[in-house]
Symmetry: C2
Amino acid sequence: MDDTILDPALGLRIRRTESLTSLIRRELERMIEVGELKAGDRLNENALAAKLGVSRGPIREACRGLEQSGLVHVIVNRGVFVREISNHEAAELYDIRAALYALAGRLLAPKITKKQVAELRRMVSQMEDAADKGELNVFYPLNVRFHEAIVQFSGNGRLLSISTSVHREMHLFRRRTLDMPGRMKISNSEHRAIVDALAAKDGNATAQLMEDHVLKSRELLFGPMGTPVD
Amino acid sequence: MDDTILDPALGLRIRRTESLTSLIRRELERMIEVGELKAGDRLNENALAAKLGVSRGPIREACRGLEQSGLVHVIVNRGVFVREISNHEAAELYDIRAALYALAGRLLAPKITKKQVAELRRMVSQMEDAADKGELNVFYPLNVRFHEAIVQFSGNGRLLSISTSVHREMHLFRRRTLDMPGRMKISNSEHRAIVDALAAKDGNATAQLMEDHVLKSRELLFGPMGTPVD
DNA sequence: CTGCAAAAGATTGTTGACAATAAACAGTAA
DNA sequence: TTACTGTTTATTGTCAACAATCTTTTGCAG
């Protein structure tokens, strides 16, 4: 199989509108997301360059972007490593996420459209199906999309990019709460309450529910917000 | 004057513990902070490389980091430009900052030390002096340090890095609220209330005060939170 | 066998050169 | 003049080679 990003046959026809660097960054993000690159792994520049069919320059540039977004960390003269998230850091990220999601809810509530409410409700009912059947691998991506949608609908562009970044970072932390018994159902009932509050255009209520929703996950793993961990 | 980062005379003696890339990124951040590079300016790689006495590689890597943190944006084949922040985006950043500072206050309140309270009070009283004398150029950096200190004392590392990033980004937006008549005094009275709430270890009150403090600036420029701008 | 030191190898840091693209300019036709 | 087109120039995108640094292996003394 050919792993190179650029198909040479197509190279002639495509007018490239994107730099290799950004293509590579997305590819690396994907590899980390999917688990092809695991926390703690070192990214060998030569190997990656060969695998993706480019030189080391773009690889290095992509890594600097990933560093800033917290997905990797760089040690001088040693290389770049997929970050490992300690319990302590994961707990911190939960706290941040709670605040960001609360803000998203507060911003969205007063201006949400009927169409958006309908879309969120659709997701909730799909998640209900998945929860009934105990299909975590169906529930999980829906859950992600649900939260993403609320942030996106909030209309605050930077909030979306920061949230995405924090979410990716949290993904490096493997322990999940959703696979605890009955957790999907409880989580989804919270989703329903959130959508109800949004539909009622109640910003304060939505914000509170979003915050609680995130912090509940935190509590299951680490105890209440602000608790020192590890 | 010599603008190069690396003094060749020192180069031999220092065992470099940091890559050029990170030095350059800090230098560029400084140049943007100080206004040597203004919003909308293009960063000419050759010129920067010559000025800093390095090659283009590290420059490009540094720029990718800055891109991710929102200080510059890159257009393929055209270059990297210091970002210009629209009113709309500035308003969005205020909303985010309010949420982040509220979180910082909430986290810090229950665990603040006497020493930290004293340090914050010292800053407040220094700001009071500056406000009395109408010295904005003294007040402003103290104001920055005050807010930074609270986030730092909160102990959430990622919160600090995100806050710093958001703060730098906001700095690209030139209009300030503090130079409005009487604004320094009002602002500082809010600072005092925040420190009092912190000293009382009242997380909710602190969070609310921090949020209001930031949103008041937003309102002066753009109207209340969530208001569409531009 | 263990511990240390030096050499060999692998990997990152940095550079200068070349290719691809966009901007600036000049010349021509309407 | 203005619009268009081809040419020149400036700048970015990419690459491959070299230098600096770290890691591993090898060899030797105890």
